[in-house]
């Protein structure tokens, strides 16, 4: 479904990604982990075609997005939902307008119909449209903003892939739980493939089918939870280090089950 083949990317003369290759299959939930600055978010931007790599290919359903014109990239983006870090909600619009933004821009539906669909979507992501629909994004908490952003991405493009950039960063444990539940619900109910970028290991363990660990722009690990646990790669061990020491004490469902 999504395949990165030997992707290398630099900002000016600063290399960010080096020969990165991995796949995301249909209905799979992949978590990309790694320390800050390892190039995790850049991968999502490359998949969306917001950046073009200097080398390699990025195939979305067999089509190389790197070689496409901007107009064709837009067609591919319609199959991908993106939840940016902090939500990236349009701050001059209300929550309702944010959720219905795509329909407002790309369809000829009446405002009443768009409002109805936006309210429905807000309900799906666990928010009351009557309470938050007319609020501005700045009036919402971080967790609520992420949920609105997920709703906006879903209503926008009816995607078969969702990309999440640090969806739980900066949230309290309760909000983190809510957002992870929503991501899992979405994944299970709609069978949407998901790529989550995070540096929060506990959250990754809770939701992912497969893990990709980045280290200084290179793929240091690509495999399942069992393989991750058994990995003796120094780069993986140093990233998981502090976490591994306290694994026994971390009350995470999936991990404890192992």
């Amino acid at each position: 479904m999504i395949e990165l083949r030997g992707v290398s990317f630099s900002y000016w003369d600063k290399p960010v990604l080096r020969n990165v290759s991995f796949r995301v299959h249909e209905s799979e939930m992949v978590v990309i982990m790694g320390p800050s600055g390892s190039g995790k978010s850049t991968i999502l931007r490359l998949i969306l075609g917001l950046e073009t790599p200097q080398a390699g290919q990025i195939l979305i359903d067999g089509q190389n997005i790197c070689a496409m014109r901007e107009r064709d990239k837009q067609e591919v983006r319609k199959r991908i939902g993106m939840v940016f870090q902090d939500g990236a909600l349009f701050d001059s619009m209300t929550v309702g307008e944010n959720v219905g933004y795509y329909l407002l821009e790309h369809t000829h539906l009446s405002w009443q119909e768009i409002s109805r669909r936006a309210a429905e979507m807000l309900g799906f992501v666990g928010m009351s449209p009557d309470e938050v629909g007319d609020k501005l994004p700045e009036e919402l908490s971080g967790g609520m903003r992420r949920r609105v952003a997920i709703g906006r991405a879903l209503l926008s493009t009816n995607p078969n892939v969702m990309l999440y950039d640090e969806p739980t960063t900066g949230l309290d444990p309760q909000m983190t739980e809510n957002v992870l539940e929503l991501i899992t619900k979405l994944h299970e109910e709609r069978q949407i493939a998901s790529v989550i970028v995070t540096h929060q290991i506990a959250d990754a363990l809770e939701v992912a089918d497969r893990f990709v660990v980045l280290h200084e722009g290179e793929v240091a690990f690509d495999g399942s939870l069992e393989e991750l646990r058994a990995s003796t790669d120094q780069r993986v061990m140093s990233f998981l280090g502090p976490f591994r020491e306290s694994w026994a004490r971390v009350a995470r469902k999936k991990f404890i089950a192992l």
């Binding site: 931007r45 969306l48 837009q74 983006r77 902090d86």
Partner: protein, 263 residues
Amino acid sequence: MAFIVTFVNDRLKFWAFHTQGLFHFSLKTLLSLVRQPFYVTETLEQMYLIGVGSLFLVALTGIFSGQGFALAFSQELATFGAKDYLGRIMSIAIVRELGPTLTGLMVAARVSAGITAEIGAMKSSNQIDAMLAFGIDPIKKIARPRLISLIVMMPVLTIVCDLVALLGGWIIGIFIANVSSTMYWSSVLYKLNYGNMLMGMVKPIAFSFIIAFVSCYLGFTSQGGTKGVGRATTNSVMMSSITILIVNFIITKTLGPMIKGYL
């Protein structure tokens, strides 16, 4: 020595990159003028923000500049017994030069700072990327409405500035320089010919392109969070203002001889 060479090399590369970037961005914005979809609501909103929002500032600048200019010249003209020419001088100076330049500088200070800061803030919070992800071209959605609004509103604001400045000159003429009202206005109208008016209208249109291109480009390319947005905003005002002054001179120098018969 090697450090200096590296520094100069880096600065030259930086300037070449941004000059190329600005040119490319300007071209894309110009091409977007004839491509759908057209965001009418955003354009009207920008016209209101730029036009009505700058009206008071431009009027205030016009009246005090006109008065100051008239005061200085009326005293000088009186020594030659030529104070009846005050209207002519005001007409030439205000309509051809001061009106467009002052309006350009005031709008550059107010509007370009606002545009760069707004776009820069949108960029640093990923809103521009979100637009792209939803299939919306930020140039059509953000830059084009601002360019069209500036093209429409700059000449209007310049006319307001001209009128208010001439009115300021009239006040000085009547109450301080003892020039009769009829003499002042007939003298103003005498020099309000096609050549002066053409030059007075070409300049604000040229300035509107400068303000739109520079402020939008610097907003879209701002980097480094809030500090970067602040830096881009300062650069936007500085670059727009300097370019306006240079282009003003170039237009006067090149267009003047071309329309000499109408001046």
